[in-house]
């Protein structure tokens, strides 16, 4: 029945459009509000005008936001911290997962259970002991020898390299790979590391993209408590700590929206880049179809 099909299709699209709007509206609100004065922004927020480019629009909030906080520095810091953490984390987590899935060694089940058990430990419970540890760790860097990791990049990177979720994602993915590929490589004389590098990882595009996106978002968006505790110098602060520069006695809502719009750009760029890699990896793997 064409009429029935048309009605069903219309309903489907209406539902999908509504769901899309739910996700798109906050972003539209953020971007539109970033061009409005505080008073107009607050007054518009009670109506649909909040999502429309109406009223007196200007780039004033962007100019003021750049004056209020060193946004470029914060973004660079966050991108550097996030990029290094994501790269090292993917490497170590995939190696750990490879070991859990393909190597036979005593105690791996127990250790895997222990790794998964760390899921239930909130970061807040280990924050203070971790602070005391990093405060007394030595470090040799470009600026010489230091007796503490406070006020550094490594203090924001190293504690977050290993996490149970990333290892778990790789373990689950590796379990589904055809064992025959690994066995064939071993019979051909490949070492375990060669199997990891030349057989398993080239097939792991999807899980790499997924883990990278999750880790990126975790590092870029959720960096607050730890930097508050360990970063006392502005030169090492990440974007989320920078957001707090805008919450004063009279909160600068327009500037906050401008700041959020600016710091969202790296996230969107990263997602778009990985979205391509994700599709490419699916298309090029030998296990598809």
């Amino acid at each position: 029945m064409p009429a029935q099909r048309l009605a069903k299709l219309s309903l489907d699209y209406l539902l999908l459009a509504w769901i899309a709007l739910v996700f798109v509206f906050p972003v539209v609100f953020m971007v539109m509000s970033s061009f409005k004065s505080d008073l107009q922004l607050l007054r518009d927020s009670a109506s649909l005008r909040a999502f429309l480019p109406v009223g007196d629009l200007s780039f004033d909030n962007y100019a003021k936001a750049f004056q209020r906080a060193p946004i470029g520095l914060f973004i660079l810091n966050s991108v550097f911290i996030t990029a290094v953490t994501v790269c090292v984390s993917l490497l170590l987590a995939s190696l750990a997962a490879f070991s859990f899935v393909f190597l036979q060694w005593v105690g791996r089940s127990v250790l895997m259970a222990a790794v998964l058990a760390t899921f239930i430990v909130p970061f807040e419970t280990i924050a203070v002991p971790l602070l005391l540890i990093v405060n007394n760790l030595p470090w040799i860097g470009l600026d010489g020898f230091k007796t503490s990791w406070l006020n550094s990049y490594q203090v924001q990177i190293v504690p977050f390299i290993a996490d149970a979720l990333t290892i778990f994602l790789f373990v689950q993915y590796f379990k589904d790979l055809p064992k025959e590929l690994v066995e064939a490589a071993r019979i051909d004389g490949a070492t375990w590391f060669q199997v990891y590098r030349r057989v398993v990882m080239p097939l792991s595009g999807p899980v790499l993209a997924t883990a990278a996106i999750l880790k990126f978002l975790m590092m870029y968006n959720n960096q607050l408590l730890w930097p508050i505790m360990v970063v006392q110098e502005e030169s090492y602060r990440p974007v989320m700590l920078g957001l707090q520069y805008f919450f004063q006695l009279n909160t600068a809502w327009g500037e906050i929206m401008a700041y959020l719009t600016i710091i969202t750009v790296p996230v969107l760029a990263f997602y778009l880049v990985l979205q391509k890699a994700f599709i490419a990896s699916i298309a090029s793997t030998g296990i598809k179809g």
Binding site: D38, L42, A46, V128, L132, L150, I228, Q232, E234
Partner: protein, 418 residues
Amino acid sequence: MREIGTLIAAALAAGAMVGVANAQTKLSMWYHGAGNQLESELLGNIIADFNSSQSDWVVELESFPQASYNESITAAALAGNLPDIIDVDGPILPNWAWAGYMSPLTIDDEKISGFLPGAIGRWTGEVYAIGLWDAACAIYARRSVLEANDIRVPTLDDPWTGEEFDAVLEKLAATGQFEYAFDLGMAWTGEWYPYAFGPFLQSHGGDIIDVSANMADGALNGEAGMAFGEWWQSLFARSLVPGTDQDGADRETGFLDGKYALQWNGNWAAVPAIEEFGDDMLFLPAPDFGDGPKIGAASWQFGISSSSENKDGASAFIEFAIQDKYLAAFSDGIGLIPPTAGSAAMSEKYSPGGPLEVFFELSNRQATLRAVTPAYIVGGKVFEKAMADIANGADVADTLDQAADEIDADIENNGGYM
């Protein structure tokens, strides 16, 4: 030959200058104003003046966002790397002093004798910190609205009584011209609740914690506390004020837009209101519920960390910073109340005849400190939750009893904060 002599002389002079620079001991200072350009500039001027005024000390500033400043201080105290000079929010000071984060100031009492009471941070009889400003709340009102409804304009000498204030709210609500008669600012959570609403409890004769008895029981949930709680709940039950679901945007613009007849707000919001209503704008004193009209006091203050090895230098800086000219400059810059009569006279907005003059007098005559005890940190948060619960219809007696128990349990768990 003559050039060589000149070069040697120049080198010796440069060496001597480096020597002077090296002789200056570094004083580290942490401040909560990151992101506030005006504050940073004003504080930077004071620091620059101090650094060039003497050759013993050089202050180096690190600014933190206010929203996470306290957590940064706590973490630094744990790690043992507090700076020499810190700033502290007044009601938190007793806790930081008790916890050993801060040392008393060695400052001549005479130098702070003319300060507003809220600008001096005392604990166990000693001065731990001094503020460069204070803040005050007032009832925002429009003369035209009061006159149209035949409502008396209260004064500092003759504020509204509790009953009179209640009748005013009922009368304004009955006009039907406003969504609510009074905006308490329920959308502003956090410290606003104990800062803004605690004085209503104090004016009823209660308090969050009875400092002398070192307990909340009897102060928060005694007869006065109960009377306050019942009145508080009735405001919401009678729909005289917006509830905890108030939209943050309405809090910001509701009074300016005419949705609320009256508003309970601080001096930091006064300038936009004057710009909107001009001479029609009034800042009225808090009502007297029986134990005197009261408003909150104590804002950010400067003190010395206990781990500082340069306490003399830190004290010297704080003494330098509290000169009237700097206090007036801060007030002109950020709009808060200058803490001395001298600095108020020098300021643009708070000088006699200035648009915000009334706030200095409000602060001088009605300001009441929040419970000066290390237990306030927990007490303030518990009070906030109790106020929200009662506003949402919870049983007043049960809620206040539970809140008092919770605060007293914290005091007990910390050995009475002795």
